[in-house]
Symmetry: C2
Subunit: 291 residues, 2 copies
Amino acid sequence: MINEYLQKTAAMVEKQLQDILTAPSPREETLFAAMRHSVLAGGKRLRPALFLATMEACGKVGAAYLPFAAALEMIHTYSLIHDDLPAMDNDDWRRGRPTCHKVYGEANAILAGDALLTHAFAVMAETPAPARPLLQAIAWTARQAGVDGMVAGQAADVAAAGQEIGRDLLRYIDRQKTGALFSASIVSGAYLAEAREDQIETLKRYSDLLGYIFQITDDVLDIQGDAALLGKPTGSDAKNAKTTYATLLGCEGAMAYARELAGEARRLLLDWPEEAAVLREMPAFFCQRRK
Amino acid sequence: MINEYLQKTAAMVEKQLQDILTAPSPREETLFAAMRHSVLAGGKRLRPALFLATMEACGKVGAAYLPFAAALEMIHTYSLIHDDLPAMDNDDWRRGRPTCHKVYGEANAILAGDALLTHAFAVMAETPAPARPLLQAIAWTARQAGVDGMVAGQAADVAAAGQEIGRDLLRYIDRQKTGALFSASIVSGAYLAEAREDQIETLKRYSDLLGYIFQITDDVLDIQGDAALLGKPTGSDAKNAKTTYATLLGCEGAMAYARELAGEARRLLLDWPEEAAVLREMPAFFCQRRK
């Protein structure tokens, strides 16, 4: 069921991204080619799917807000481009392709990331939606993608490089690097669906749990996963001597912990209506993912 | 008169930036220190001043919208941090200080830029203002800072490095790299002041002219300016074999052209009320600037 949902929403988001990522004139063609190289590389489009699934769980038709969904994927992709840079994780492969800076050079990769991030906010602000909820969704997304989330998490990750870190700091980094953008996607959907305050609070907790589960399974896949399926080499955490849940608890222990968190996340939504089924099943789906 | 106005607005913006750039917890301290290093280095705060002056020219009190003004300066500073990176212009000095990456390293400089850009949109979206004009201002700013402006200009500049370029392409690059963020500042102020459509159109033309004037004087100062006043070494265009208006027309010819454009920009606002005096005098002020 989740697989079908993801396929359906990915196709809608893909079309939207194609429209957005067309250069206004030949002068911007190289910049847009670098953006498209990384965005249109067949990712799972999880964040747009979570955004759309949340709107449905809150009783709205998410498809009307597809530009906002596409913008979330643009923010996710900018973060991948910058994380892959030589000065950061120095990765050569991503989504089965050479990384942006390997193809277009470092300067263009920095600019392609900057352009995706900046343009995402134009796309969000131009989404046809009620103005006040839209501003709440934009502010929440900017905070989660920035200083209250993803960028702060990446900075902490950079600072921790090569050091052994405790479970508290690991939890912080995982929440900020991964949970925060899930939170941006899910809570933005709830704002735009004009959900009740108690629903929004529940979804914030749910998003953080989903972030931990995703990050733990990511760490395990980096040890036990199939590089061809993942579209990037495995073993990078070991190479960089990174502390992860898998190194702290072992792969089996980490997966048992992920399943425990998945149960917790599911229980948060037990009394939600049928329309919340995708969100309810997502945690277990994350525990079983192979890519 | 302009000097006094700039001093007054810079003091207000400074206070606002100090408040915004306080780390939420000790874990974000290094990231915020890198952001503060570049933002709180005593720039002229021209873009916030243009934003505030425009609101006044359109009959509103700009001071109520100071967070938005500060956000414009954050976007400007992010662009300086990324432009200075080794993969881009590889500059060591800015605003009289070592550049961000010289002090905090490349990874943190990339992240400090990302954080400033992202957080600027949170600050804008949280500015207490009527919702619909605020969304227009955010969308316009994102387009001008991104694919319809600054990032596209920087990409074109990177592509043109070491090549002789014609006047058309030079005009495009100058408009995108410099005029676009002036346009973001001025036109956003007009949207938030709920200006008439014809006023907005006039201000768009005015912004572009102001951008050309600023860029031309910048090129001349890079040849004839005082490095101590400028806070950065001169001669960088010659070092990088860059085509500028100064190389095309000579310093005197370039300044004559700047003064011609300044007259044109001033004339656009001749029949505007007394409150537009700062905007009316700004073009001539740019022609006389020494830093």
